[in-house]
């Protein structure tokens, strides 16, 4: 019982943390602040993964997002002079208002459908799902082809990123 209460407490806290920090992320005018709030939201998500018994994915989440993607974003922010963007005031247009309204309605619909309906099948979270060994075995057996495709995708993305960020790539003058 105590465990269950502890779980609920952790769940509520981390959920709120994720929601609040992602809200802050989309509202901060300073891009670096946004980025830091995003890390926070992702870490909170990682804790939720742990709560669901998926340790491996939680680790990956932190390594990939908080580590790699975050570093990239910060590097780009560093390279680009964002002072103009940061001075921008929120411009309220009809499209944006409509967008927010539709989004909120959509969220309500989602909660209505997913949150209040019962889920069929084996219920109850596993204490552990997807440890490194299981996932590794699966990756090299059942999911071998997608795995290889994913590796090619990463290679292509790497080459693409290099090509795009080269100064001369599209006929621009060299430095």
């Amino acid at each position: 019982m105590a465990v269950l209460i502890a779980k609920w407490v952790i769940f509520v806290i981390t959920s709120l943390l994720a929601i609040v920090s992602s809200l802050l992320m989309i509202t901060r005018r300073n891009t670096i602040h946004s980025a830091l709030f995003m890390i926070l939201a992702f870490v909170a998500s990682a804790i939720l993964y742990l709560l669901l018994g998926c340790q491996f994915m939680a680790m990956i989440q932190i390594i990939v997002y908080a580590g790699a993607v975050m570093m990239l974003i910060l590097f780009v922010i560093m390279m680009i002079d964002l002072s103009k963007e940061e001075k921008l005031k929120m411009k309220v247009t009809r499209t944006k208002i409509a967008g927010v309204i539709v989004s909120v309605l959509f969220m309500l619909a989602l909660i209505l459908v997913m949150g209040l309906n019962s889920v069929k099948g084996k219920l109850g979270a596993l204490s552990s799902i997807g440890d490194a060994k299981t996932i590794g075995t699966l990756l090299f057996t059942k999911y071998l082809l997608p795995f290889e495709v994913a590796s090619i995708l990463l290679l292509a993305a790497m080459v693409g990123a290099v090509m795009l960020s080269k100064k001369k790539a599209f006929g621009g003058e060299d430095q």
Partner: protein
């Protein structure tokens, strides 16, 4: 041997490609050597094949050389294939032989022209197309050659296109030829549609002629008349002869090669090739013979009073082509081809000699400003004389044998009217040719001192080919000496397997009548034509050597007739006001009323409707990526609501 036939057109094509694609930097002498040797090799191949052909039995003289499948469309199937038989080998020999001489000659004649390379490129292309025409084994490939020579003719008439008159003459030749070609291709369509009803899908000569009985008399008359329309265009017969005199705007070797010796005879060749079909349509034959003789007579009368050296020769060409049509029209197909061959020699030579005169006279063509050239240009004079004697039908020269053959055949096959007109035209021919000779080469020089000072004989590169052709003009007739003069008419025998007319009755009867004609009658005929020619020569002598005021007085006395002849019966003016102006008016109507008023209005109306609709819809495209993201979201919501409609409420 059949496998070598493709070499004949191959060499000119190679010459065309080398000079045309790579020749920009070549020296002029190289270009000349490449072009001339291409034709020379082709001539040599033809000669070898000719002798090989002679070794074969007369009735087995038919070889085909298939190059590749050309059109395979459903049941219709045609190949690019060349055919060698007595007729095509004679044509190929004439074409390559005369072209070879003219190629050599052109090296001297065109020496200082800026378009030297272009000239030889066109010339080789022309010989290539002409060989395709004569060697093809089907109507379709023949048509390719037919159009190819038409194109080259256009390009070469307008060779000096910076001159308006040359560009217009080229255009005229092209348009007039197009009218003829339209008839020709309609004839081909009629052949295909008729034969396909019987399950035969081919335009090969063999197949068409073998199945000629399938045509009804009306159909075959229509086919042959349509093909003859094509022939009148290409071979400058009434009513489509008007382009040929204007074609003299081109360089003289071109006039010689294309507009005298080879291309213009394509119509005669085509009719001779289709003799099976023509024999089945006596009505058409009559039309061909009458058109031929009328052309021969009327263009000869025009030539009487012209003063332009090359125009006289041009009308003479039209007239001689008329003779050839008389030959094929009365059913003496080999006589027509015989005249074609001898004419190629002497008319080619006449033009070359006129080019030589022009060369010496700095481009002057008015014979009234010449005179006494004999002294300055002996070689040109003598070769010109040979050709003149040949064309006038003086016994012993080639023209005598061929022209006499035609006249005699027409008399004996019962075409008396044709014979009378033809004989008269022969007298006129002798007259105007000797008028030309006497005015240009005899008498006192009438050119100005400057020109006279520069008069000179042409270089050897020009005179030698002329001498070769002069020899051919003299001896060319000896291959076809008629039996009555102790010969055996080997030329006719050689062509006999092809010219049988498909063994048709009318032709057989005609040949029968000819074979059984009495020798004395034939001698009388010959004597008549020789006397007529001599009268023509004598009159010319009296008019232009003895008594030069006489023609002037005569012209003044018969003002009306003279003006009519001098202005070529006003045919050009007539065509211009009726056809050309009519077409222009109609086109203007179509342009201003129909095109601008109706078609453009419809098109513009549709465009403006589309434009205004587009103007409304384009507002959806803001260009901002977030608007697009928003529409994705809306789409997602719609899909979601659609699928979860029940669980929502």
């Amino acid at each position: 041997m059949a496998s070598y036939i493709w070499l004949i057109p191959f060499f000119p094509m190679v010459g065309f490609l080398i000079n045309g694609l790579l020749g920009v930097k070549f020296k002029r002498s190289w270009i000349h050597i490449i072009a001339a040797s291409a034709i020379g090799l082709s001539f040599l191949t033809t000669l070898i094949l000719f002798f090989e052909l002679l070794k074969v039995e007369p009735h087995a003289r038919h070889f085909e050389n298939v190059i590749f499948d050309w059109i395979v469309a459903g049941k219709f199937h045609t190949q690019v294939a060349f055919m060698l038989d007595p007729l095509s080998v004679v044509m190929a020999l004439v074409v390559t032989g005369v072209s070879f001489m003219i190629h050599i000659y052109s090296g001297g004649y065109m020496h200082d022209d800026p378009g030297f390379r272009r000239f030889f490129v066109y010339l080789n292309l022309f010989v290539f197309s002409m060989l395709i025409l004569v060697l093809s084994n089907s109507f379709l490939l023949m048509f390719v050659g037919w159009e190819g020579v038409g194109l080259c003719s256009y390009l070469l008439i307008g060779f000096w296109f910076e001159k308006d008159s040359a560009a217009n003459a080229g255009k005229k030749a092209f348009v007039v030829n197009r009218i003829g070609d339209f008839g020709f291709i309609l004839g081909l369509f009629l052949i295909v549609t008729t034969l396909s009803k019987h399950g035969i899908w081919s335009l090969n000569f063999d197949v068409v002629f073998k199945n000629a009985e399938l045509f009804s008399p009306a159909t075959v008359t229509a086919i042959t008349l349509l093909l003859f329309v094509g022939a009148t265009g290409k071979s400058a017969q009434i009513p489509l002869y008007v382009w040929l005199p204007d074609a003299m705007e081109g360089p003289t070797p071109v006039s010689s090669l294309i507009h005298a010796a080879t291309m213009v005879t394509a119509g005669v060749y085509m009719i001779a090739r289709c003799n099976v079909l023509y024999s089945m349509a006596p009505g058409t034959m009559e039309v061909v013979a009458v058109v031929g003789v009328l052309t021969a007579f009327f263009s000869a009368t025009i030539a009487l009073v012209q003063n332009d050296f090359k125009r006289i020769l041009a009308y003479s060409t039209v007239s001689q082509l008329g003779y050839m049509f008389v030959g094929v029209g009365v059913g003496a197909f080999s006589a027509g081809i015989f005249h074609l061959m001898t004419h190629a020699f002497f008319k080619g030579l006449l033009f070359l000699a006129s080019g030589s005169v022009m060369h010496a006279m700095a481009g002057e063509l008015n014979i009234q400003k010449m005179g006494g050239l004999k002294k300055f240009m002996p070689v040109t004079f003598w070769v010109f004389m040979m050709a003149t004697l040949a064309i006038s039908g003086i016994p012993g020269f080639s023209g005598f044998f061929s022209k006499d053959e035609i006249l005699w055949q027409s008399f004996h096959r019962g075409h008396i009217f044709v014979w009378i007109m033809g004989t008269l035209a022969a007298g006129l021919t002798a007259f105007y040719m000797f008028r030309l000779t006497f005015v240009a080469f005899f008498g006192k020089p009438r050119m100005d001192e400057e020109t006279k000072h520069h008069l000179h004989e042409s270089p050897k590169v020009m005179t030698y080919p002329m001498i070769v052709l002069a020899i051919a003009s003299v001896v060319g007739g000896y291959v076809g000496i008629p039996p009555v003069l102790g010969g055996s008419n080997r030329f006719e025998k050689f062509l006999e397997p092809i010219m049988g007319g498909g063994g048709h009755e009318a032709v057989k009867e005609g040949a029968h009548a000819v074979a059984h004609a009495s020798a004395s009658l034939e001698f009388t005929m010959m004597a008549v034509s020789v006397i007529v020619a001599l009268i023509g020569i004598t009159v010319a002598y009296v008019f232009y050597i003895k008594n030069p005021e006489l023609p002037v007085r005569l012209a003044r006395g018969m003002r009306g007739l003279y003006t009519l002849l001098y202005n070529k019966y006003f045919v050009d003016e007539f065509y211009n006001s009726v056809f050309v102006q009519g077409t222009k008016d109609f086109a203007t109507f179509l342009w201003q009323k129909v095109d601008v008023g109706i078609i453009d209005a419809i098109v513009n109306g549709v465009a403006s409707i589309v434009e205004s609709c587009g103007g409304l819809i384009r507002k959806l495209q803001t260009g901002y990526v977030q608007t697009y993201a928003f529409s994705i979201l809306v789409g997602g919501v719609v899909v979601f609501v659609y699928f979860f409609w029940e669980s929502l409420f």
